[in-house]
């Protein structure tokens, strides 16, 4: 058997195996997987968040998204120019005084906006322990933390 035939045979076998797996097991699950080893500084996986811990959750998405399906009890802080940044600061200052642990989530898995908001919370210099949730809203949603809310 020459090299081309071998290459062709390997290709056919691989494709057959892949098709069989797809038919038996179905399409691949695309759940968000948080790898703790790949976290950037300041990031946290949802699995690392204590279930019973007192946390101020900060939603960095747009107000409409937060109102539609934000985590219950979360506060809003985004960079929308139409929003009042000082109001965000004031509310966060009040909340952090009672609960000095804050976690920011965004709508996207690699949302840099969460880091920007975390930086702003730290800049308040209120001694808060601030993290960014890797996977953002998707991680919360897939973990069943977001109930179906139409109205806040």
């Amino acid at each position: 058997m020459n090299a081309f035939a071998q290459f062709f045979a390997i290709g056919i076998i691989s494709l057959t195996a892949a098709a069989g797996t797809y038919l038996i097991k179905g399409p691949p699950a695309r759940l968000f997987v948080c790898d703790t080893a790949a976290l950037k500084p300041g990031e946290i996986c949802l699995s690392q968040v204590p279930a019973d811990g007192a946390i101020v959750w900060v939603d960095a998405r747009l107000r409409a998204e937060w109102q539609r399906n934000g985590l219950p009890g979360s506060v809003l802080w985004n960079l929308d120019p139409a929003e009042d940044n000082q109001a965000f600061e004031a509310e966060m200052a009040m909340r952090v005084l009672e609960t000095p642990r804050a976690i920011v989530y965004c709508g996207d898995e690699s949302c840099d906006l969460s880091h920007e908001i975390a930086q702003r919370i730290n800049a308040l210099d209120l001694g808060a322990d601030v993290s960014v949730l890797k996977g953002g809203w998707r991680a919360l949603s897939e973990a069943g933390r977001i109930p179906n809310l139409n109205l806040r």
Partner: protein
């Protein structure tokens, strides 16, 4: 067989190495205080010998709008184009760093092959130092001071100071009208946790800078 695999790997490496060449992949802009947005143009040329498709771009922030040569995404060898990043200054101040990631052809989802950098320097017209005053719970209720300095070349007067809590008293001292002030804050009680949001109203004509905010906190050490 080995030759085929080697050839395939070599082609794969070539395809990955090919990319767009930018005249300035990193830019720094000094924004005037009175503008709402600034724009940075990143010019590029396809220096490879094959067409390149821009799959997507991401600035990671709703504050940066990215436009690619009026929507043109495919570039033939030698063809040039432009990435225009419009930064909405919103409520940013100071030095702000943003990155714009570009995914070309077969770039993996988590690894864009091109990353552009944008730094925008936004003047701080009114500087508060520090912005947060802290007292330890059960400690001494000594007065503390926030220095308020106006940027050089500007005259901005403080017209009012309001505290959200009567537990903290605020006294404004004018060192040089329109240029330099001190705000002395004294907590009435440090036996229990408390916070005051202090709003400093000025006559600055720019709405974004008109009201400044500081904090006074009594909290556990």
């Amino acid at each position: 067989m080995q030759k085929i695999v080697s050839l395939w790997l070599a082609l794969a490496c070539l395809a990955h190495a090919a990319g767009l060449e930018f005249t300035q992949a990193s830019q720094e802009l000094n924004a005037p205080a009175d503008v709402a947005s600034v724009t940075a143009d990143f010019e590029f040329t396809n220096k490879s010998d094959k067409p390149i498709q821009i799959i997507k771009s991401d600035s990671g922030c709703s504050c940066v709008a990215v436009e690619i040569s009026n929507g043109k995404l495919r570039y033939e060898p030698g063809e040039s184009g432009l990435i225009r990043a419009k930064f909405d200054m919103g409520n940013f101040s100071g030095s702000v760093d943003k990155v714009i990631a570009l995914w070309l052809d077969k770039d993996p989802e988590d690894k864009p092959s091109t990353v552009l950098k944008l730094r925008v320097n936004i003047p701080v017209l009114i500087a508060l130092e520090p912005r947060t005053l802290k007292w330890d719970l059960g400690g001494k209720a000594d007065p503390q001071t926030i220095e308020i300095k106006i940027i050089k070349g500007q005259t901005i007067k403080i017209i009012d100071v309001k505290s959200s809590s009567t537990d903290f008293t605020c006294q404004l001292k004018t060192l040089e009208e329109g240029k330099h002030y001190q705000l002395v804050v004294t907590p009435g009680d440090v036996a229990s946790p408390g916070i005051a949001v202090i709003r400093i109203e000025t006559d600055c004509p720019l709405p974004k800078h008109k009201t400044q905010q500081a904090f006074a906190v009594v909290r556990k050490p």
